[in-house]
């Protein structure tokens, strides 16, 4: 027992020593707070499950919120994370209670909850990302204070499909989705149309595996998380001759990239973000069919600040740069100038309306 005081003393001394080492810095003279402390307009975001740093949806939306605060120092931004749908209502309610002036709900799953909150709190502005106001039965609802943010990603996927058709050596490309829901199938429809356009213009016969746009049937994992299942699905398509993969499955899509990384002849195209920057497999990626969630959210918050959001609808298109095709990065030297020029021409045609990319899943024009 006589050992104990000694042990304690040693432990205490070493703790003090460590603290002293760490604590010898000088005190700062300036004590300015961070963020826009004096802001009069409060914009709040409620995340989908996955958290604020999910390297995807929520993170992009939050980047848009912060961009709005950077642009206008009278806007303060904050967020609340949801672990599941059970958390949507309390998080929206807490945002109302915190006197938020504008509340952005991220993800179409939240559309009903946001609508209910908006009807109960008409003095607060709301926005839904990837959704529009609906009631509990998913029927559209008229509201005065819900701004709807959607993306016509068929347009960017169309360009990606055209590029894929121009790059395939085997004449076979493949796509697969997480779930057969509109935000996924819209990419696949656009991709399919882009390939069809290439075949028509070039007299080629590039085949698409994994999605039949006419029948609206295709290959789906059943979830957005299982990268291992994504890998085996991709391997199946590679066995069938596909050399370009277009996974539309969020994090599960990584499975396609690992498959591409292990097969020299196989490459991939990413969705939502520029995969060259957001994934570790940039060297496998020909391009990405992006949607500019951050820009859309930023603009919505800035519009709300001016009192102009209301019940408006934003549909991201090639024309307003809400959707885009990412730079070719490592493939810039591989893709011919001819193809690049054709893609630019197609993009211009879509923007001026002379070429219409249609998907049953496309959001209605504002």
């Amino acid at each position: 027992m006589a050992v104990k005081p000694f042990k304690l003393a040693v432990a205490g001394l070493s703790a003090v020593g460590l603290a002293a080492l760490a604590a010898c810095g000088d005190a700062p003279t300036d004590s300015s707070g961070d963020g826009n402390a004096e802001a009069t307009f409060s914009a709040c975001m409620v995340t989908d499950s996955g958290g604020i740093d999910d390297k995807s949806f929520n993170e992009s939306a939050w980047a848009g919120m912060e961009a709005a605060a950077d642009e206008n120092s009278d806007i303060a931004v904050t967020y609340k994370e949801s672990a599941s749908e059970a958390d949507y209502d309390p998080n929206l309610q807490a945002s109302v209670d915190d006197s938020c002036d504008f509340i952005v709900g991220v993800g179409g799953l939240m559309a009903g909850n946001v609508t209910t909150a908006a009807l109960a709190n008409t003095e607060v502005g709301f926005a839904i990302v990837d959704g529009s106001p609906i009631d509990a039965n998913f029927a559209p609802v008229e509201t005065e204070n819900v701004y709807s943010i959607q993306f016509d990603t068929a347009q960017s996927a169309f360009l990606a499909g055209y590029v894929a058709a121009s790059q395939t050596q085997t004449g076979i490309v493949a796509t697969w989705g997480g779930m057969q829901i509109n935000p996924v199938t819209i990419f696949m429809d656009g991709f399919s149309e882009g390939i069809a356009k290439y075949n028509e213009d070039k007299g080629a016969d590039v085949q698409l595996l994994g999605w039949d746009a006419a029948a609206q049937t295709g290959t789906f994992l059943g979830n957005f998380e299982d990268a291992a299942a994504g890998r085996s699905t991709s391997d199946t398509f590679i066995t069938q001759g596909a050399d370009i993969l277009f996974p539309v499955a969020g994090p599960a899509g990584i499975g396609a990239l690992t498959a591409a990384a292990e097969n020299d002849a196989v490459n991939a195209i990413w969705v939502d973000t520029d995969g060259f920057e957001s994934t570790e497999y940039g060297s496998e990626l020909i391009t990405s069919a992006e949607k500019a969630l951050d820009v859309a959210v930023r603009d919505a918050v800035l519009a709300a600040y001016k009192g102009e959001a209301g019940n408006g609808t934003y549909v991201g298109t090639l024309a307003n740069e809400g959707v885009s095709i990412a730079p070719f990065h490592d493939f810039d030297s591989v893709i011919s100038d001819e193809t690049k020029a054709e893609v630019e021409a197609l993009k211009a045609a879509i923007i001026d309306g002379s070429l219409v990319v249609e998907s049953p899943a496309s959001p209605a024009a504002p």
Binding site: A23, A86, Q180
Partner: protein
């Protein structure tokens, strides 16, 4: 032997009248406080957890962390900053879980109603409801010496069972709702019986088989939601159909304020706790469960059928876990179930059962505590990291599971009869 047995021995209430003076109340109380009995270990575990949580709050706050780097040139920054951070963080947890002081001010001024005042409590009860069931499910299995890690999977089948009866049948509420709840219990019970049956017939360890069955259930849910039968025709999202009005658990307080979500699932949970108490302490079946849990060989010699007890106990345990699923799909998720509906409630049930020492009353109290932590953390973000509730839960259970650690840290005395612990034999 490969069972895990929950032994909860009564704390030594009469300290030994050793040496010196006669024991008076203050002395007895003082002895009680400094003894590692089950009540004090629980209380000290909570206190230690909040203490460690406070340190982690300081470490995770960028500003306060930076003040420690110049501690010696301006110590008040670090000390006051840390104090304010911890105080404000725990205060906002309290406000989100029990009573919001801002709302109280507004209530006093007439700007807020009773409903607004009750919202934090309503949220606490809402999040506690599934935990009551899963905690009871794990707890009742503990009593038979079984470690039911499969509550998660049993709950998932409960979700699906209640959901299907909830939307597929067209019945008046007085029959529809009970039927849907029972369907949840039946689905969970059947799925829960599987590991019990496997153990009884083949000796397969219930921990291994129930873990694997959890994975099967989780993947089955993902697949099931995507099927035409379950998937909502109206939504473009990965969500099932909602249950009928007549199968929805009625909210208890929405007449005060529409945002009060606490529903009749809570009442079923309390009823399940009372039932579990009755089952364990008053019924023959409960006697058999406890007897097998204490000593299966003696029980067998006494003429009890061990294998059948395993199977039925796991079935009852699974049925209660299934009720957690019913409370979710007929309650908060009555408009549709998604892949994230089950969250980790089944696994959290293990920690709830440990904290509640496998006793129904303790389990309800533990579930309320964890529900409060969840509701508080949700409302306190982003100033307080939302993971604080999971963190506190983990630390609490760490100490509860290791009373010797608490005893050593605080230099507590060993109670008569030794330390109270949930021992796992054969592991």
């Amino acid at each position: 032997m490969s069972d895990s047995t929950a032994t909860t021995e009564a704390p030594a209430e009469q300290p030994s009248t050793d040496q010196e003076s006669k024991p008076n109340f203050a002395r007895l109380f003082g002895r009680y406080l400094t003894e590692a009995n089950s009540v004090m270990v629980t209380i000290y575990s909570l206190l230690l957890a909040f203490l460690i949580g406070g340190v982690l709050l300081i470490v995770s706050d960028e500003y306060v962390r930076s003040t420690w780097s110049y501690f010696f040139s301006r110590p008040q920054d670090a000390l006051l900053g840390s104090w304010y951070l911890i105080r404000d963080s725990y205060l906002s947890l309290f406000e989100g879980a029990i009573l919001n002081l801002n709302t109280l001010d507004r209530f006093a001024a007439g700007d807020a109603g009773v409903g607004d005042l009750l919202r934090p409590l309503s949220e606490t009860l809402t999040y506690a409801t599934p935990l009551i069931f899963t905690g009871l499910a794990v707890g009742i299995a503990f009593k038979a010496g079984l470690f039911n890690i499969g509550a998660q999977g049993q709950m998932i089948f409960g979700i699906l069972g209640a959901l299907i009866v909830g939307f597929a049948l067209d019945l008046p509420i007085w029959i529809h709702l009970p039927l849907a709840v029972l369907a949840g219990a039946a689905a969970g019970g059947l799925f829960g019986a599987v590991p019990g049956l496997l153990k009884a017939t083949t000796g397969a360890h219930e921990v291994i088989s129930s873990i694997m069955l959890n994975n099967i259930a989780a993947l089955f849910l993902v697949w099931a939601i995507g099927t035409d039968f379950l998937h909502s025709e109206l939504s473009t999202q990965l969500v099932t159909k909602g249950v009928d009005e007549s199968a929805t658990l009625p909210t208890l307080l929405s007449s005060l304020n529409e945002t009060l979500r606490v529903n009749a699932g809570l009442l079923i949970g309390i009823a399940a706790a009372v039932f579990t108490w009755w089952l364990l302490s008053k019924s023959t079946f409960g006697f058999r469960i406890r007897s097998v849990g204490f000593n299966e060989n003696a029980s067998q010699t006494a003429g009890m059928h061990i294998g059948r007890t395993y199977t039925t106990t796991m079935a009852v345990s699974g049925a209660i876990a299934g009720l957690a699923g019913a409370a979710l799909s007929l309650g908060v998720f009555s408009t549709g179930v998604t892949t994230s509906t089950p969250l980790q409630y089944g696994f959290d049930g293990i920690t709830v059962a440990l904290l509640g020492r496998a006793n129904p009353g303790g389990i309800v109290a533990a579930a309320l505590l964890f529900g409060a932590l969840k509701a508080g953390a949700l409302s306190a973000q982003p100033d307080v990291p939302v993971d604080i509730s999971t963190l506190l839960q983990a630390i609490i259970v760490l100490f509860i599971a290791a009373p010797a650690l608490v005893k050593a840290i605080l230099h507590l005395r060993t109670p008569r009869g030794g330390l109270v612990t949930l021992e796992a034999k054969g592991w």
